[in-house]
Amino acid sequence: MATGTTPTTPVTEASGGRAHGRAAIAARHLRTDRWWVPPLVTALGLGAFIAYATWRAFANSDYYAAPYVSPFYSPCLASNCTSMKGGADWPLFGDWWGLSPALLVLVFPLGFRLTCYYYRKAYYRGIWWSPPACAVAEPHAKYTGETRFPLILQNVHRYFFYLALIVAGILTYDAVLGFRDPSGDWGHMGLGTVVLLVNIALIWAYTVSCHSCRHVIGGKLRHFSKHPVRYRLWNRVGALTARHMLLAWSSLISVGVADLYVYLVASGAFDDPRFF
């Protein structure tokens, strides 16, 4: 050794020197815990949702059971939609669109979640393994992160946040319509109403807890003392942002459950239990 010293007991796992003078440790990592569990669970969870959502988005059937509409199909922007009484049924795209109308809408929540700071962490770790876990070497020879195309497009998250607000507003309208009965009269509530209400509450919580929202609300300010209302809102949003991962998963599950519920009712698998 350069220091002129020699270990007093034999070195058991020796290897040659590494480039750049780093310690010669050949193993990719020395972690002894189950570091692979979180990325595996993440990959399985995201994979399951993508598989389910793809099936439902292309199915183009059983997405409306008055007064409930699946969140995958609202707003409905093509003429080939099932008629929804008073619902967000706006055929802006006319009748030239022959595919499932869900595809026109899902691009917005998909873009919002795809560029979300939490989901980025989730799929960079769980799917792309960049890195798979902290202090576990990634398998890629080169890394440029979000400095160039296509990942520099992650910066569009702000636009998707603005669009997600509109989508959340429409889904809120859908949830309110759940208080009408199948013939359109107000004063109804069924299990589906509760499912849609829980779903929209979680979607709003997830949307508002977004880091872009936190920034727009007040994070960009330099002097909070000059903007006391925005400062207070920024603190409130910050408390939600700290739970962004929890809200991301719970709203993802709730939107899937809401769609599944509407599918089961619309396909006749069971009748919606009515409270009043």
Binding site: A2, T5, T9, V11, I25, A135, E138, K142, G145, H157
Partner: protein
Amino acid sequence: MSSYTAHFKVWRGDADGGGLQDFQVEVNDGEVVLDIIHRLQATQASDLAVRWNCKAGKCGSCSAEVNGHPRLMCMTRMSVFRRDETVTVTPMRTFPVIRDLVTDVSFNYTKAREVPAFVPPKGVAAGEYRMAQQDVERSQEFRKCIECFLCQNTCHVVRDHEENKEAFAGPRFLMRIAELDMHPLDAAEETGLNRAASAQEDHGLGYCNITKCCTDVCPENIHITDNALIPLKERAVDRKYDPLVWLGSKIRRRGQ
């Protein structure tokens, strides 16, 4: 007070090579990994090199990797390990090793010098700075940093890709930029320096893919990703990608 004998593997060597060396060493209740390293020095390996100072988690000197986790040795209790568990201690991987557990962290000082310093506001003398607490509290969180460089060490951008060291400042120094950009009295903007844009263009903010390992290993529990890196990315978006912000600034300028 109970004691037991633990199996330790400690990396020994220098830039020319080295490897893990086995030790059987006494452990007593209440001890931390650094205590055991000191016992090894005292009883079995008097030439074992380790950097340490306060032994209280405040100086940031004894950064190393314990069972593959970047940790402060003085803040890693032996009680978190099973008694029959082998404890492996290695130097930080991202930096050149000097000897045994001591690494050359000068990369960090080079990066520190690249960040433009606080720009004092015009017309306010030192000692006359007055700030509302809510204006300065964001920057104060980042001032808790003890510069242990565990975040720099664990960040895969440089840990797994040595070639990125030139372009990427690392989480600690991007956080420093955020600290100054959020500082209520920093007058960098008046000198033409936009810190958020500079973070992206000159300090490699885009390399960060917000996988939060820096936050996970921070012994001061600073929310590096949520409170520094993401807000900095958002500020860069303000400057470069948001049409509404651009439009708003144009309208405001016209109204002035």
